[in-house]
């Protein structure tokens, strides 16, 4: 299908146009190109999806041309679309378009408007290559490309050094993961003799045995790559700092799409993971630990975007967890619904932040629901889906994961389930806290004066429509996506039967319990919050959680600081190896000086030494 190429080509064209015009286009044209190219790509995706659904000939591959051939090594540029990639492409172009649209308002008063959309379009292109590439090298091209765009966009306001640091941190930390991934690629090529994904999967099914050590190593290396990109423990530390980027960037890259690339990677390489119990257990454990840690951390943040960042981290933890317990479809389903509601939450918080003069501290907000009704409603809808209230999209996906976890045949099933449920409870808790602090109570600081003519005004169409559509998806995406994603991996059956046992009841009830407790703790006057925080224990705990469980501290102390310290020592900077060559130079100089001492220019000195030399020779002759 030749049309496939048009999907990534559109945002690529947008990128190139914006790049080559160097910001000389008027803003309205930039908006049309930036958002329009992604919009068109979304329409095309719709068409392709319809083709895929209505024909039996799926998966589709595009025409291809050679990238490189060296001996047996042969990779080409070719796209591949099956249901799994279609879910991803749909999210990238669909949600991506809405975010682009919103950004035309959000960024309207910023410098570098054209540069922003230039990077954003490049990102969409790279992300599409990641999910559409039919070989791992093309996937890696997208993988690195999205990392680059993430770096560029986190540091978009390049005058602020802290943002630059956050951007570099994101790039370098994910690159640690990327190194695992590229080694996985080497190993796969070594084993399979090809980097084509489908060929590799066939190879896994036919030639790998369950207990194969090699297979487990491949899986763990892939997991290393996924962990970096998807901000899971232990490479999660970059994500909260990444919130330095403009809010639409956080919504698109650090919530809806790029950070889910790890989930996609594992799902794509499913056949390898299925063969390795150890690897599956590791995936589940990584997800669960992240989920647990991030939920607690989200509970004590004061920055609204950081709450959402930790929440994203924990929701991706759910996805990893789902993959690890074999709930493949449920994990992907959650990826999709999460993209809807988290994008909505981020965009709504963006409107709040702009209205508050770029204030992100929730303790300086409060009482905003009346003044910002549209962001409030949007956020309410998003929160409902996030805590998984029944009939929202988040409910369907999270419920599917929890039930599947309970029914999984892992020996840790019960433990898994308990932790996941605790985290679900915590999710409600921090969500309630966020909503209460932001929208209820007394206003803590002055709001920006909202002018009708400013493009970012929350009542304007460029804000309301994306909010509206995302809100609809956050609610209805559950029923709609249900059919489509439930059979992605042929593992349906979880949803088919309705449960009315205790477990189902518990999973259903946990969000409500969280909301009720949250209400009492954060909103009502029944509990004195001051007392709760005041005692030493909770102070320590909140500090520990707030700093992300000390991961940053460990990395800083044991990696970053020594690395920098040695780099800055003079000996190192002047190149230790050069000492040796300087020694030679020094010795040469030394002999030069010693010898030149004999050259004084005094005739008597020469005569004397000549005589002395003669005597010595004579003596030697006589003696010997």
């Amino acid at each position: 299908m030749h049309l496939l190429w048009a999907i990534p080509a559109l945002p690529l064209a947008g990128f190139l146009i914006l790049l080559l015009t160097e910001g000389r286009l008027p803003r309205s044209v930039v908006s049309s190109i930036g958002a329009g190219s992604v919009g068109l790509a979304a329409l095309l995706t719709g068409y392709v999806a319809w083709q895929v659904m209505s024909s039996d000939s799926a998966p589709f591959t595009s025409s291809s041309w050679t990238w490189m051939i060296v001996g047996e090594f042969n990779v080409s540029f070719r796209l591949f679309v099956d249901e799994l990639s279609l879910v991803m492409v749909g999210v990238i172009t669909g949600v991506g378009f809405l975010i682009h649209w919103y950004a035309t308002g959000y960024m309207s008063e910023e410098e570098g408007y054209s540069r922003f959309f230039c990077y954003m379009n490049l990102f969409v292109f790279a992300m599409l290559m990641l999910v559409m590439g039919d070989n791992l090298l093309l996937l890696f091209l997208g993988w690195e490309g999205v990392g680059l765009c993430s770096y560029l966009l986190i540091g978009f306001f390049h005058k602020v050094p802290e943002f630059g640091y956050a951007a570099r941190k994101a790039f370098v930390v994910t690159r640690v993961g990327d190194t695992f991934l590229i080694i996985a690629l080497f190993l796969l090529f070594h084993q399979v003799g090809s980097l084509e994904i489908q060929q590799g999967l066939i190879f896994a099914r036919e030639n790998m045995s369950d207990a194969s050590m090699m297979n487990t190593i491949i899986c763990l290396l892939l997991l290393g790559g996924a962990v970096g990109k998807s901000a899971q423990v232990p490479l999660q530390t970059w994500l909260p700092d990444a919130m330095a980027g403009p809010t639409p960037v956080s919504a698109l890259i650090h919530a809806a799409t790029m950070v889910t690339a790890g989930v996609y990677l594992i799902a794509r390489m499913q056949d390898y993971f299925m063969l390795s119990q150890t690897a599956m257990l590791c995936v589940a454990a990584v997800g669960l630990v992240t989920l647990f840690i991030a939920s607690f951390t989200a509970l004590v943040q004061s920055d609204i975007k950081r709450v959402l960042a930790y929440s994203t981290m924990s929701q991706i933890g759910y996805m990893f967890f789902a993959l690890g317990v074999g709930a493949w479809s449920a994990g992907l389903f959650h990826l999709m619904t999460h993209a809807f509601f988290k994008a909505l939450l981020f965009l709504a918080s963006g409107s709040v932040i702009l209205a508050m003069h770029h204030e992100q501290n929730m303790f300086k907000m409060g009482g905003l629901w009346k003044k910002l009704p549209i962001p409030f409603i949007a956020m309410l809808v998003g929160s409902a889906a996030l805590v998984a209230l029944p009939l929202t999209s988040g409910f369907f996906s999270k419920d599917a994961i929890l039930l599947k976890a309970w029914k999984s045949d892992s020996e840790f099933a019960t433990l898994f389930w308990v932790v996941a449920v605790i985290a679900a409870f915590l999710t409600s808790l921090y969500t309630v806290r966020m909503m209460v602090l932001t929208f209820f109570g007394k206003p803590q600081s002055e709001m920006h004066e909202l002018k009708k003519e400013s493009l970012w005004h929350p009542n304007r169409i460029r804000t309301v429509v994306p909010f509206g559509l995302l809100a609809v998806l956050s609610i209805a995406g559950g029923w709609m996506g249900f059919e489509f994603t439930s059979d992605l991996f042929g593992d349906k059956g979880v949803h088919a039967e309705l449960h009315f046992d205790l477990i189902a009841f518990l999973t259903l009830g946990i969000p409500f319990a969280g909301i009720v407790v949250g209400y009492f703790v954060f909103a009502s006057d029944l509990i004195d919050r001051r007392n709760l925080i005041k005692n030493k224990m909770s102070e320590l705990l909140s500090k520990f959680w707030g700093n992300g469980w000390g991961f940053d501290w460990v990395y800083d102390t044991f990696v970053v600081k020594p690395f920098r310290f040695i780099a800055q020592t003079r000996l190192n900077r002047n190149d230790v190896v050069d000492l040796f060559f300087n020694l030679i130079k020094f010795l040469a100089n030394l002999f030069h000086h010693i010898l030149s001492m004999f050259q004084t220019g005094h005739v008597r000195w020469y005569a004397f030494t000549m005589l002395g030399g003669l005597l010595l020779v004579l003596l030697a002759v006589v003696w010997v």
């Binding site: 160097e22 910001g23 050679t66 990238w67 490189m68 051939i69 060296v70 001996g71 090594f73 540029f77 090298l137 890696f140 091209l141 690195e144 490309g145 680059l148 770096y151 560029l152 540091g155 390049h158 005058k159 602020v160 050094p161 630059g164 640091y165 951007a167 570099r168 790039f171 370098v172 690159r175 640690v176 990327d178 190194t179 590229i182 080694i183 690629l185 080497f186 190993l187 090529f189 070594h190 780099a567 800055q568 190192n572 900077r573 190149d575 190896v577 050069d578 040796f580 060559f581």
Partner: protein, 484 residues
């Protein structure tokens, strides 16, 4: 015939450029520029005409000093053609980048540039070992002058260091060449310096090992690899922009070329045994060079150390003794030529505008000169190894080839990718991002002259990145001859 004309043309243009200064100070620039554009076009024509049945694009064989079996033997196969093309193309870049930089002796400056390039073209096409050594020296002397006369504050030290390192290592190679010829004479009874005859010389393994080392040391000094790399940061930092562009873009490649063309095919068994040393030196260069790059505060010095890291990949690739590794090394040579030439040109442009290379005196330059910022970002991203650009292709092929040979060393080499990100991004941050430095005067952005060559380089890198096959298919037929 072609090649000799090419070399003579460069030499002749050098002389003309020198004397043309009497007419106008700008004339030497134009003569050099026109010469390089013309030769580049010429190379392209040869390229598109394709090779003959033997895979050669040009060849010439003529007696030179028959008494000693020395011939004027020039051959251009795909590898040579690529590198000659790179040479003449970077000649354009070098001339343009130094267009306004030289303040004195314009004619002699261009003379030296043209003569270095003539020497390099000779090195890339000589198939007689004596001739090869002759050209090896031809390219050294003008380079020495470029640094010693038009260099920066520490030019005497740097040029002398450059000269001594190259000369002493060259001496080792000369000894090895003469010994090889002599031994071959004793065995076969013919006195010859011919590449193919000597390649088939019957050496016992101990001798082969020793002679191989003579060549190897000369070439890794030029490459350079740790531990004989220390001339490079000084030479680069002190050289004028054109000098750095030539040095990094082309002169380093003569070392890589020497290993690929001479060390590995001529002493195949000895090299095969030596693989772990070659590869380990490469890995050490990658990591050490990368780390030292991060430690620098001088823009140009940072780029110089990053070159050492990139050249490490070439050693790793070649000593993996695989098609993938060798092809990767060749691609790395080309791509690194483009990307570092651009970064050195950027360093030169900054120095011309700010009169400093210290990054602590920069910062926030993006605001002053957004084009320069974007261009630097592009080349930093390329040298960090972004897929879709040339450097990635080279390094990826090197690593995937090396992986078949040694997993451990490959893993360490792959860590170099992370280090590259660290120093690359820190270069970007310290120079172009962050708070605009209030002490920096107004700085004019790239205009047509500088931007046009940068765009050429960008196109070149994208081309290598997404259509490396155009190069790979050219060198593919050579691989059996090079590897075995």
């Amino acid at each position: 015939m072609n090649v000799l004309v090419l070399i003579l043309l460069l030499l002749g243009a050098g002389v003309v450029a020198w004397f043309s200064e009497r007419v106008s100070t700008k004339l030497p620039n134009w003569i050099a520029l026109i010469t390089f554009v013309a030769t580049t076009l010429w190379v392209l024509v040869i390229w598109f005409n394709g090779p003959d049945a033997a895979g050669l694009y040009a060849s010439l064989r003529h007696e030179w000093i028959p008494r000693f079996g020395i011939e004027l033997h020039l051959r251009v196969d795909a590898l040579s053609l690529m590198l000659i093309g790179l040479t003449t193309f970077l000649g354009i870049i070098a001339v343009v980048s130094s267009w306004t930089e030289t303040k004195t002796r314009h004619g002699f400056f261009q003379f030296n540039i043209l003569w270095v390039m003539a020497g390099v073209v000779g090195v890339f096409s000589a198939f007689d070992l004596f001739l090869f050594f002759f050209f090896w020296e031809v390219m050294l002397i003008p380079m020495y002058f470029l640094i010693a006369i038009w260099g920066h504050e520490d030019k005497e030290y740097a040029s002398m260091k450059f000269f001594l390192f190259t000369q002493i290592s060259g001496l080792l190679m000369l000894v090895a060449i003469v010994a090889l010829v002599w031994i071959n004479y004793n065995i076969s009874g013919t006195l010859t310096f011919d590449y193919f005859e000597l390649k088939n010389a019957n050496l016992d393994s101990a001798t082969a090992r020793l002679l191989m080392l003579g060549f190897f040391i000369a070439f890794i000094t030029k490459l350079p690899s740790v531990p004989v790399h220390t001339w490079l940061p000084d030479a680069h930092t002190q050289a004028p922009t054109a000098g750095s562009v030539i040095l990094a873009g082309i002169l380093l490649k003569t070392g890589a070329y020497g290993i690929i063309r001479f060390v590995v095919p001529m002493f195949n068994e000895a090299s095969q045994e030596f693989w772990i040393w070659g590869m380990s030196l490469g890995v050490v260069s990658i990591l050490y060079g990368g780390y030292l790059a991060y430690s620098q505060t001088d823009f140009k010095r940072l780029v110089a150390y990053s070159s050492i890291a990139h050249m490490g990949f070439i050693l790793v690739g070649v000593y993996s003794f695989s098609k993938l590794g060798t092809q990767g090394a060749i691609i790395t040579m080309i791509a690194h030529g483009f990307s570092t030439a651009a970064l050195f040109m950027m360093a030169g442009a900054l120095q011309e505008r700010l009169h400093t290379r210290e990054m602590s005196k920069m910062g926030g330059l993006w605001v002053r000169a957004p084009r320069m910022g974007a261009v630097t970002m592009f080349f930093v991203v390329a040298s960090v190894g972004m897929p879709g650009l040339g450097n990635f292709i080279g390094e990826f092929l090197v690593l995937i080839g090396a992986f078949q040979k040694s997993v451990v060393l490959t893993v360490f080499a792959a860590i170099g990718i992370v280090v590259a990100a660290v120093y690359g991004l820190s270069l970007m941050q310290r120079s172009f991002q962050g708070v605009p430095n209030p002490d920096v005067p107004k700085m004019h952005d790239f205009a047509f002259r500088e931007m046009s060559v940068m765009v050429l380089l960008m196109i070149a890198l994208v081309w290598v990145g997404i259509y490396p096959q155009s190069l790979l298919q050219m060198t593919a037929p050579l691989l059996p001859g090079l590897l075995d």
